[in-house]
């Protein structure tokens, strides 16, 4: 043992103390203690060794059982999945399509599930609100992905497409005929004839002129009462 920086003389003194300590401290225990303790120590050690060996053997034998228990636990967990899905369906939750198909393949129809057609229409309706382009996209994608839903989806897409076309036509016509009031077609024609200051001929000619104007209606019209006569003729 070093004194870590102590002087040599001091170290000698401490070394003497250490020697005295080594000589003085060890003491003989009572012989009676050794007589009673040693057989007990041997017995305790023997028991501890046997226990340790038994424990090790038990651990080795219990290992396969624990593996079997793990497999059983996994099996129970897997078996619980369809039960949980069926329970959710009974509770009114819409089960995902693949899970429903899996039940259908084994002949079980889950309750509270929407029919296939409505599901398909729901799928195609979503994007159709965005515009006619979206509708055609959906119809093509449906056709390519699933054969079962493609017919319904295609029909629906066509329907949506025609609706959208109709809307577009009406809108364009309305704009061209009804809304573009600054220079309606009728007024442009009658400008040269309206020299007498009568009411303008375009008052109710806007919507009809495009469809009902014929050469018979326009020829008998005279300046001054053109508007009234024209109406009378047309009726």
């Amino acid at each position: 043992m070093s004194g870590d920086g102590a002087y040599e003389g001091e170290m000698n003194e401490v070394a003497l103390f250490e020697n005295a300590l080594r000589a003085a401290v060890p003491t003989r225990p009572d012989p009676a203690l050794g007589t009673t303790l040693v057989p007990r120590l041997a017995e305790v050690a023997r028991t501890a060794t046997i226990e340790a060996e038994t424990h090790a053997t038990r651990r080795r034998t219990s290992a396969p059982r624990s593996r079997l228990a793990l497999v059983a636990r996994v099996g129970v967990a897997v078996a619980l999945i369809p039960l949980v899905l069926a329970g959710l369906a009974f509770a009114g939750v819409t089960v995902p399509g693949p899970a429903r198909d899996a039940f259908n393949t084994v002949g079980i129809t889950l309750p509270n599930q929407p029919p296939k057609h409505s599901q398909a229409s729901n799928h195609s309706q979503g994007p159709s609100h965005a515009g006619t382009k979206g509708t055609t996209d959906t119809s093509t994608s449906d056709t390519t992905t699933s054969k079962g839903n493609s017919d319904a989806a295609h029909e629906h897409a066509l329907e949506q497409h025609s609706k959208a076309q109709g809307k577009a036509l009406g809108h364009d016509q309305g704009k061209a005929i009804g809304l573009n009031g600054s220079t309606p077609p009728g007024q442009a024609k009658d400008k040269g004839q309206d020299s007498g200051g009568g009411p303008p001929a375009h008052s109710n000619a806007g919507g009809n002129s495009a469809t009902h104007t014929t050469p018979q209606h326009t020829t008998p019209t005279t300046p001054g009462n053109g508007n009234g006569n024209a109406n009378g003729h047309s009726k």
Binding site: M1, G3, D4, G5, A6, E10, E13, V14, L16, F17, E18, N19, A20, L21, R22, A23, A24, V25, P26, T27, R28, P29, D30, L33, G34, L37, V38, P39, R40, L41, A42, E43, V44, A45, R46, T47, A48, T49, A52
Partner: protein, 183 residues
């Protein structure tokens, strides 16, 4: 003791050989009891019995050479000493003032008297140390434990053990110088 001899002794002790335990007890009991007495353990022989019983219970877990075994036994002894101190603090008992009996007893009366003086002086000097300083010095000197082993036994870092040892030795030197005692 050679490493082979110690290994065979350890195997025999694990199997419950009384002869092996007798040998281990004879070689370790005196210094462990001395350590317990020097640390003022309450009822040191009782604590010694507990120490060896724990050694017997846990001997299957030990794996190593003789120095390691010695260090392991002293670590157990230190822990049992702390337990005994705590126990006696809760239920104080009257300690017998029986003086320790040195192993290296002199044959003639003069040497015996000198040895007695030395022992008393050692006890007195140890008395001026703190509990931690005393434990560290005794584990280092009596148990022949390394700084690391002492650190494990007392539950401190090696740096703290070195500091305790340095301060303990300084206190011993001061006390020896003050009294002018020759050991």
């Amino acid at each position: 003791m050679s490493p082979e001899r110690f290994t065979s002794l350890l195997v025999a002790a694990r199997e419950g050989s009384e002869a092996a335990w007798q040998e281990l007890y004879n070689s370790l009991a005196p210094i462990v009891l001395g350590y317990l007495r020097a640390n003022s353990a309450p009822d040191p022989e009782d604590v010694l019995g507990e120490v060896f019983l724990q050694v017997a219970r846990d001997i299957n877990r030990f794996d190593g050479e003789e120095p390691g075994f010695r260090s392991w036994v002293f670590t157990i002894a230190h822990h049992r000493l702390i337990d005994a101190r705590r126990h006696s603090a809760r239920r104080p008992v009257e300690l017998s003032a029986e003086p320790p009996e040195p192993i290296g007893r002199a044959d003639d009366a003069a040497e015996e008297a000198l040895a007695k003086i030395g022992t008393d002086e050692v006890k007195r000097v140890l008395g001026v140390l703190s509990d931690e300083q005393r434990a560290v010095l005794l584990l280092r000197v009596i148990g022949d434990l390394s700084i690391e082993d002492v650190a494990k036994a007392v539950g401190k870092r090696p740096g703290a053990v070195k500091a305790l040892q340095r301060r303990g030795l300084a206190a011993v030197k001061r006390e020896l110088t003050r009294k002018g005692v020759s050991l």
